[in-house]
């Protein structure tokens, strides 16, 4: 269960301050996949970074399972499995060693780590490259390794920042199945993307973000109804107010 309330974040930049996030707030429930949908530069990544305590908001409040993020960041990080926008893995370690390293940093013992890796490798279908050094991995293999690394501590809440970026059709399908499994296990999954179809295929609820603000929240059907449009892409373009940007 994740709760965000009225988040604001401003960055200093050369051409004056950039107000990247302006009052974003939504709720992500357990046993649901919440999609964060928005064009590039809408403030998705910044919002998620505040959620996983990498940045502190200028204003606003975040709660994870009832714990205030500002009060106890390590406890919050323990409850989150994070696949950040930056997902570099160590290329001189094997995929297994990459995951083990993070497991140890989470304070897990070796037996638990081995069991978790076993389960994740099965679920993510990464058996044949698990013990290879990650140098030369394909994008899909790298992403799977990064996801396994993010989930090794069996977190209740899972945050994935554009997980399907650069993946082919079959890998994306496999990943969708994996996320549905996470949902059926009762976890709270937040998933960000800039592709409407992607979000619609998977999410129970969609939060549309544009220009640092929440534009709409609802199920795909609710959003269709709200705009009176049938095509999901049109719905997204209308809600995110992108028609002006297109021209």
């Amino acid at each position: 269960m994740i709760l965000l309330e009225n988040l604001h974040k401003t960055f200093k930049a050369k051409g004056g301050p950039v107000h990247a996030v302006k009052g974003v707030g939504f709720e992500a429930r357990d046993g649901e996949i919440t999609g964060l949908l928005g064009p590039n530069g809408a403030g998705k990544t910044t919002t998620l970074r505040m959620l996983y305590t990498l940045m502190s908001p200028d204003q606003g409040r975040i709660e994870v399972d009832g714990i205030d993020v500002a009060r106890d960041p390590p406890a919050v990080r323990r409850r989150l499995g994070v696949l950040p926008d930056a997902r570099g893995i160590y290329k001189r370690l094997t995929a297994r060693e990459n995951v083990e390293y993070f497991g140890r940093l989470h304070g897990l013992d070796d037996a638990t780590i081995a069991a978790r890796i076993d389960r994740l490798a099965e679920a993510l279908n990464m058996r044949d490259f698990l013990d290879r050094r990650t140098e030369g991995f394909s994008q899909g293999q790298r992403t799977k390794t990064a996801i396994a690394r993010a989930l090794v501590h069996d977190p209740k809440n899972v945050i994935l920042d554009e997980p399907t970026n650069g993946l082919d059709v079959m890998t994306t399908r496999g990943l969708r199945g994996f996320l549905r499994d996470l949902r059926s296990q009762g976890r709270c999954v937040i998933f960000s993307s800039h592709i409407m179809q992607e979000v619609a295929a998977l999410c129970d609820r969609i939060v549309v973000i544009a220009y640092g603000e929440v534009r709409a929240v609802g199920t795909p059907d609710e959003l269709r109804e709200q705009t009176g449009l049938a095509d999901l892409e049109d719905v997204f373009v209308r809600l995110a107010d992108l028609e002006g940007a297109e021209a």
Binding site: L54, R78, L105
Partner: protein, 389 residues
């Protein structure tokens, strides 16, 4: 604490798998330094020996004015050759170390028992000419003295009346300290390698990791940032210490098998162990400083830009001491780089370091390292660090 060790171990594994980089950072120094030390050292020695003992070839202008003096020089293993027309230019062009000019009045002045004039032309800024000049000066003084004495005797004056002061020299240089003179650059090399031995790992673990985009997920784990950073510093320190140990071993072996008197340098195991202790604070200072720099710059490239300056830093005290030697004082043991130079010189010269000096030294060295560590950990807490460009 556990986190620190987990991170340090991962960094070392990562480093050791990068075979080529590892070999360069770990073995280059230990292989190169002995060659340099021994090469330069034996060059200096053999040069000194040939200059002291071989026949000195001396260009002399106006040989005909003082045949006695020339004969005396020949007796003292100095062979005269006809001098050039323009002695100043010849010396300046380094074609001769020293030239003797005997003035045409020499004969007349000699016969009238007045001080007869000779002139030495040399370049005092050239190290190389020091030995020939002093050799010639000594021989001339000897000649002047013995002739003066004979003149006194012929006039019925006691020869001793001519010497108001008798100077006796006593050189207190121990064999070790004389060797150490030839090894003036030794502290620089040792300080340099301990200061920057872990540099590559330290920079790669922070600036490199950020560039490869793996710092953000790392900082999203529950591990405390200060602990993660300390682990990286510890890893770099262990690597630096390893390279330092290899260096000292190489150093010990090469001096044991060195030719001639270089073998006299004290490379006994206790001295080597003390050198290791002396240099460990330097390893901490170097890796903490580089971690601090890496955490505050935008890219690996920018961090590497600082390396050029850092390479020069250990040279400063050596240069200052060369130009302006200062007496041993306690404060020197508290100044980073200068302190290391002093301690290394004291140890290889076989001098005793007092407990007070040890305390001040270790206190100041570790203190500086911890201060840098603290500053680096402040840098690690910045929001900007995690967000890759």
């Amino acid at each position: 604490m556990k986190t620190v060790w987990i991170v340090a171990r991962k960094e070392l594994v990562d480093m050791f798998r990068d075979r080529r980089t590892m070999l360069i950072s770990l073995l280059m120094g230990p292989l190169l330094v002995p060659v340099m030390l021994l090469g330069i050292g034996s060059m200096v020695e053999s040069r000194m020996r040939t200059q002291m003992e071989s026949t000195l070839e001396l260009p002399v202008i106006g040989t005909e004015h003082a045949p006695n003096l020339v004969a005396f020089l020949e007796e003292r293993n100095i062979r005269t050759v006809p001098g050039p027309d323009d002695p100043d230019a010849t010396v300046r062009q380094q074609e001769a170390d020293v030239i003797l000019r005997i003035s045409p009045e020499f004969g007349d002045q000699w016969r009238e028992s007045r001080p007869a004039r000779v002139e030495l032309i040399h370049d005092s800024s050239r190290q190389d000419s020091q030995i020939p000049v002093s050799r010639l000066m000594t021989v001339l003084a000897e000649y002047s003295g013995s002739v003066g004495m004979l003149r006194g005797i012929s006039r019925g004056v006691s020869p001793e009346a001519g010497f108001a002061v008798q100077v006796a020299r006593r050189d207190v240089a121990t064999p070790e300290s004389r060797r150490a003179m030839a090894l003036a650059f030794l502290p620089y090399l040792l300080v340099f390698f301990s200061f920057l031995g872990g540099a590559h790992l330290a920079m790669d673990a922070t600036a490199g990791e950020r560039e490869r985009q793996s710092l953000e997920p790392l900082l999203a784990t529950p591990a405390r940032r200060a602990a993660i950073m300390s682990g990286k510093i510890l890893g770099a320190c262990l690597f630096g210490a390893m390279s330092l140990v290899l260096m000292l071993v190489a150093f010990k072996l090469s001096f044991q098998f060195a030719p001639g008197s270089l073998r006299m340098i004290n490379v006994s195991t206790p001295v080597m162990a003390m050198l290791l202790v002396v240099l460990l604070p330097m390893v901490l200072i170097g890796t903490s400083l580089l971690t601090l720099i890496s955490a505050s710059v935008k890219s690996m490239k920018e961090a590497q830009g600082y390396m050029t300056v850092l390479m020069l830093v250990p040279m400063v005290p050596t240069m200052v001491l060369m130009l302006n030697p200062v007496k041993d004082a306690l404060w020197q043991f508290a100044v980073p780089f200068l302190a290391q130079s002093q301690m290394i010189m004291k140890l290889v010269r076989g001098e005793v370091v007092s407990p007070l000096e040890w305390t001040v030294y270790m206190g100041a060295g570790l203190g500086a390292g911890l201060l840098l560590w603290f500053l680096a950990s402040r840098m690690y807490l910045r929001e900007k660090l995690a967000v890759s460009a």
